[in-house]
Symmetry: C2
Subunit: 260 residues, 2 copies
């Protein structure tokens, strides 16, 4: 299979750099093809501007319109097109980053902001006028997984941990980006207490990551709800018979997470 590995870390000598190198070797040994977007090494520019879309600066910039026009007319910035081609070839996408402020570093957010223009990954359906997203996105058939490290302990992102439960912290990325564009999202790999990691903990993290990669194409994805599965009403609000009367981001997965 073809795997796109996207890394956002400023130093390749870091824990994240070591885990990336180890993972890529293991994937190649297992017969996979690996492509990379090492965003710091590429000096990726994370800032959306009209220049990406050959936009006339005298005209007001509406990002969705300008970007979808540029995609359609083949005038998107070349570096965006290169990333889109990598994504089209990918059977799975791994996003690896240290958790900064409970989200991804800006350089990776800007990879998403710039590469996933309207019409790439999601877009307007010509037949119904609706938006292709949430299971119906254009990346359907591609698997996705987050690999992230954090300084704090695993307790702090447990279901009642002070930083918030990891699944819900990652909801904007896992549901709002990966599932939105149609990717099947596997549970994340977390490397906690990363600032104080010793050889034993490193070996444990490496083994966990290798195990998860070995089942990358067989593990069950998170069962997020499909926008056309009949569970949402015409305003895209979850119908009362689903989600057990609950609310919040967790109602958008079919199986309720374990409480407590």
């Amino acid at each position: 299979m073809n795997i796109l590995w996207v890394l956002a870390h400023p130093d390749e000598r870091s824990l994240n750099g070591s885990l990336r190198d180890s993972a890529i070797t293991a994937l190649a040994d297992a017969g996979h093809t690996v492509e990379q977007s090492d965003l710091y090494r590429m000096a990726w520019n994370p800032v959306v501007t009209g220049e990406d879309y050959a936009h006339d600066p005298d005209e007001r910039l509406q990002v969705a319109t300008a970007s979808s026009t540029a995609l359609r007319t083949g005038t998107l910035a070349e570096e965006i097109v290169v990333e889109q081609e990598k994504l089209r070839r990918a059977d799975a996408v791994v996003l690896q980053f240290p958790l900064w402020w409970f989200s991804m570093p800006a350089i990776m957010k800007g990879w998403i902001d710039r590469v996933f223009v309207e019409g790439f990954g999601y877009g307007i359906r010509r037949d119904t006028g609706g938006t292709r997203r949430y299971g119906d996105g254009l990346m359907a058939g591609t698997r996705a997984m987050i690999v992230t490290s954090m300084g704090g302990s695993e307790h702090t992102v447990s279901p009642r941990g002070i930083n918030g439960s990891l699944d819900e912290l990652l909801f904007p990325i896992q549901h709002g980006f990966l599932w939105y564009t149609g990717m099947s999202v596997l549970p994340p790999v977390l490397v906690p207490s990363a600032d104080r990691i010793g050889p034993d903990e490193y070996e444990h993290a490496e083994k966990t990551l290798h195990d998860r990669l070995a089942s990358l194409f067989t593990d069950d994805p998170i069962p997020f709800r499909h926008q056309h599965g009949g569970e949402y009403d015409e305003k895209f609000v979850l119908r009362p018979e689903y989600g057990a009367g609950d609310s919040g981001v967790r109602v958008h997965r079919r199986v309720a997470p374990v409480r407590g």
Copy 2:
């Protein structure tokens, strides 16, 4: 009062640009002082690198250590120091951005990543070795509010809307950044259906924003839990007697949100 207004939008002729101009005029008319960080106009660089910390590139970069050392020794990049000084002067901070992928544009994420180094906004306590954060952060006494626009309708970010409830989507920012650094967080101002806004809807959005700004210093903030309020145990997990047996990001506010 002194208000720092941070805007992330690539075009000042946008809805967000118009609302910003209108808000700033209203604040000035009310006798406030307004400082701005218009990140696109400043051509803000959102990418954390060792250069921010005068870091020796031959040494492995550990961001937390390098950044806190640079803060302490006065070797932080000048553009970071300028933003920190604006923040020190601020009685309130407004973050205004279009919701891109259910989060902020990369340019603003990188303003947070670069400006809030360890020791600014949060940091290690010399007395206990604990971390000053979550109500105990160094920005305590400062108010904060998000102003954000989205293309989708308000229904889609309602408590059971397909995109996820707005409060929980914004939890990584409102709790994980603003409250982490000690700021008192006011409920966000949302401008929905922003791609199809007409004169009446604009007037409504402008009035809502002005009303919220008029009570910026008197509205009740979101009642997030203080890390030293006795509600968390020694592992920073919410004690069983709080949060009504519930889990997820919403247990970290003292008053449960309305369900349904």
